[in-house]
């Protein structure tokens, strides 16, 4: 006589609810709920509202008779000479600022990675500019770089009397770069230093035993092992440089809504002015969304190049097989 197997019965709801996996799921969402709620309310919701605003002619005060304009604000950005100009200035600024800042920060980190007397003091001193409030930093630099009364031109005037180089107007981008590099060196140095201290001593010693000199150790051991850190700094630095607003805004001549000089008319400055000077909230938020897309593209391109120059142990493991 054959026995008929009864089909497997699904556990009851009560059993399911009290099951271990369900409890773990609930615990998971409970623990991440504070972050999730904050993320939704403070990030997702503003992003959605921002996008919706970019489809209107909102000016801060016309909520009662706001008009839907579709993608007009986006098409306007492509036709706007100032938008294209400011994007160009931003790319120039990034191309100028990033290499100088990264190279100097790396060199500082290399120097401070040596076992020298007063190492801690130097590390603190080099990091100090990063913690000084940006307003104070800019004000001091403005005094230093002022065309007529600045210290820099006064020093140059010792050799060429009557010098008045316009560091804050015609050459504002150079002035901006100097300030950004000076104040950002500390952060870059700390990150690179952490990376350098993560390089195993055994690898350096092994290279030395094999006859490598300092340059060869640097070229074939240090740099490859630092590429992940360099990659991290590069990506973060690029994103920050595209979003630069406070420095050029504070560097602009004092006065109500006096525009910053064309030399330092970055994309975010242009966006800020569209919103707060011209009350073009819709157009301004459209510009912000376009910047988001540009940053995404640039970041993706950098990620694409990762496999060609960033050392990773997983990749080396695969090659070794």
């Amino acid at each position: 006589m054959s026995t008929v197997q009864s089909p497997a019965r699904r556990p009851s709801i009560r059993r399911r609810l009290s099951s271990r996996s369900w409890r773990r799921t609930v615990a998971f969402y409970t623990f991440i709920a504070p972050w999730l709620i904050g993320f939704v309310l403070l990030t997702v919701l503003p992003l959605v509202l921002g996008f919706l605003t970019s489809l209107t002619n909102y000016d801060g005060l016309n909520l009662a008779n706001i008009k839907f304009v579709g993608l007009r604000n986006y098409t306007r950005a492509f036709a706007d000479i100032d938008t294209r100009f400011s994007l160009g200035r931003t790319l120039t600024w990034s191309a100028l600022n990033m290499p100088i800042w990264m190279i100097l920060a790396f060199i500082l980190a290399l120097l401070l990675n040596r076992d020298v007397k007063g190492q801690g003091v130097f590390r603190t001193l080099y990091y100090l500019p990063s913690v000084i409030p940006v307003v104070a930093t800019v004000w001091v630099w403005k005094i230093f770089l002022d065309r007529n009364y600045g210290l820099l031109n006064a020093i140059i005037s010792l050799f060429r009397p009557g010098t008045a180089i316009p560091w804050l107007s015609t050459h504002a981008l150079l002035g901006l770069t100097a300030i950004a590099v000076w104040s950002g060196l500390g952060w870059g140095m700390v990150v690179f230093l952490a990376g350098l201290q993560g390089i195993p001593d055994e690898l350096v010693q092994a290279a030395r035993i094999d006859g490598a000199n300092s340059w060869q150790v640097f070229r074939h051991v240090t740099i490859p092992l630092m590429t992940p850190v360099i990659f991290f700094v590069l990506v973060n630095g690029l994103i920050s440089s595209f979003q630069q607003l406070v420095l050029p805004l504070l560097l602009a001549p004092t006065g109500m809504n006096v525009p910053p000089p064309r030399s330092s008319y970055l994309y975010m400055i242009h966006t800020y002015r569209q919103i707060f000077v011209y009350q073009r909230f819709g157009y301004g938020t459209a510009l912000l969304w376009l910047l988001f897309i540009v940053i995404m593209i640039v970041t993706l391109l950098v990620f694409r190049t990762e496999r060609y120059w960033v050392y990773s142990e997983a990749a080396v493991g695969e090659e070794g097989r």
């Binding site: 002619n57 000016d59 801060g60 005060l61 016309n62 909520l63 008779n65 008009k67 403005k142 005094i143 002022d146 065309r147 007529n148 009364y149 600045g150 031109n153 005037s157 009397p161 009557g162 010098t163 008045a164 316009p166 804050l168 107007s169 015609t170 001549p253 004092t254 006065g255 109500m256 809504n257 006096v258 525009p259 000089p261 064309r262 002015r273 707060f276 000077v277 011209y278 009350q279 073009r280």
Partner: protein, 490 residues
């Protein structure tokens, strides 16, 4: 058949009646409550003054109200009847409405609380978007047409008409910026606010050592210069050391340059805007071209701070550091013109003219308005009345930072020192020419035109564009902004 009342019912009714009578007899006597309160007493007198009618040799007698005494002392007064109550949201600057003043007002007006919000454009937009704009908003004259066009303002005329503190007849000319029949006809009609103080804004401040250095006499303070004379003076006063500017020849509020143009064009009965403010006209108006060229030339000769050669701070500070010879600011600047360096060396001069017509209005008229959406208008009016007519206004009048908004407080302006007396002499004369009202564009932001000018000025100074191209660019960009404004508001 009627039913007879039973004994029990009779006793019940009688007991109730007695109880009512008893309770009524036991009511406490209504005693008028007396409170002790610090009361501000302002003693005014009406005097007859002989004045010369502007533009004619006619001499007339006019009654003028003057404040002769202000005292504050505790006094026992009858408790006020059911007071106005409410929480009034005031968006202002902290240094212009202090915590002490706020607390004093609340102590004197129980039931009304002031909720102070620091003046901030972003916050203002957010509050408006939420449907809860501040009850009282600090603003300037150029905002009024825009607010009127958007129907954001509360008509305060009925309040003014019954106020014991603020009288329409006592309002200084600058308050006309807060009156308007429509956004394009400002100056008369319903009143929506008032200025906290004001200045004839086109006067000049001269730094005497700069004139001495240049071998020039300081101009006479009774005769106005022409703008062309100002330009020549600036050329002679400016001092250069190679490419360095050691002494700026001239300075003005470049962030308000379009308002200066408006006033200058007003001398010629011209306007910056055409077709009911729906477009700016620069390239088609030879007078506007001449006026804007004047400011372009000042910048191109480095006689004034400009986009290629900016001031390290602002020209007000340049003047007090003794590095600016001649500065165009209003009476408000007199309070800060004298520094450790410039003390005793400053002279205020009358407003210059372009075509011989004297005009010296205010171009800011900073004040406050009440939101049309205010849910507590009576309480808000109490705060408004107090701020503009009582202790804070009296304190402001004596500070010298602006001409009082009420004519009856004019005598409270400081005039102890020789410098202050000289300033007052010039100011009293300038009052005659301060009655005109600049008509601001309701479709533009306060600083749009000046901003567009500054941006294109840099290109013009660098030679990237010609002056004609500069004007055309400004016209195109401002007209685009006007059209957007019309679209948003209309």
């Amino acid at each position: 058949m009627t039913r007879r009342m039973t004994r029990r019912e009779l006793l019940r009714v009688g007991g109730l009646g007695s109880m009512v009578a008893f309770l009524a007899a036991c009511q406490p006597k209504v005693v008028e409550k007396v409170v002790e309160k610090e009361v501000t007493k302002i003693v005014k007198e009406v005097v007859k003054e002989t004045i010369i009618v502007e533009g004619t040799p006619q001499v007339v007698e006019k009654e003028v109200t003057r404040i002769i005494e202000v005292t504050k002392a505790p006094e026992a007064i009858a408790a006020p009847p059911a007071a106005v109550e409410g929480n009034v949201v005031v968006m202002h600057f902290r240094h212009e409405l202090t915590e002490d003043e706020e607390n004093q007002f609340e102590a004197d007006n129980p039931g009304i609380t002031i909720e102070f919000v620091a003046a901030d454009l972003t916050r203002f937009f957010a509050m408006c978007a939420a449907g809860t704009p501040p009850d009282l908003l600090r603003c300037q004259a150029p905002s009024i047409p825009q607010f009127l066009a958007r129907k954001m303002l509360y008509d305060l005329t009925p309040y003014f008409e019954i106020s014991d503190v603020l009288s329409l007849d006592d309002l200084a000319p600058a308050n006309s910026y807060y009156r308007g029949y429509s956004p394009v006809a400002i100056g008369d009609g319903p009143i929506y606010g008032m200025c906290k103080d004001w200045s004839p804004d086109f006067t000049l401040f001269a730094y005497k050592p700069a004139f001495e250095e240049a071998g020039l006499d300081v101009p006479d303070d009774t005769t106005p210069l022409t703008y062309q004379e100002v330009f020549e003076l600036a050329r002679q006063l400016a001092v250069f050391e190679g490419e360095r500017v050691v002494m700026w020849g001239y300075g003005y509020g470049d962030w308000w340059v379009d308002r200066i143009w408006m006033n200058v064009l007003g001398e010629l009965d011209q306007s910056l805007y055409a077709d009911s403010f729906t477009r700016i006209d620069l390239t088609g108006n030879e007078h506007a071209q001449a006026v804007t060229k004047y400011y372009f030339d000042l910048a191109s000769e480095n006689l004034v701070a400009n986009p290629l050669n900016p001031s390290p701070s602002w020209n007000g500070e340049d003047f007090t550091k003794g590095t600016l010879a001649l500065l165009q600011f209003g009476y408000w600047y007199s309070a800060s013109a004298e520094s450790d360096i410039t003390a005793g060396q400053v002279v205020m001069l009358p407003a210059p003219t372009w075509a011989g017509v004297r005009r010296d209005p205010t171009m800011t008229a900073t004040g406050m308005v009440m939101a049309a959406a205010s849910k507590v208008p009576d309480a808000t009016w109490k705060v408004f009345e107090w701020y503009n007519g009582l202790e804070p206004a009296i304190a402001r009048a004596g500070g010298g930072w602006g001409v009082p908004a009420l004519k009856s407080m004019y005598d409270l302006m400081p005039s102890e020192t020789e410098y202050q007396q000289q300033v007052q002499r010039v100011l009293q004369e300038e009052f005659k020419y301060a009655k005109v009202t600049l008509q601001f564009n309701p479709f533009l932001g306060e600083t749009t035109t000046a901003d567009v000018w500054a941006k294109n000025l840099e290109l013009g100074l660098r030679g990237d564009i010609t002056f004609d191209e500069l004007l055309a660019n400004v016209e195109t960009e401002v007209n685009t902004a006007i059209l957007e404004g019309v679209d948003r508001i209309a």
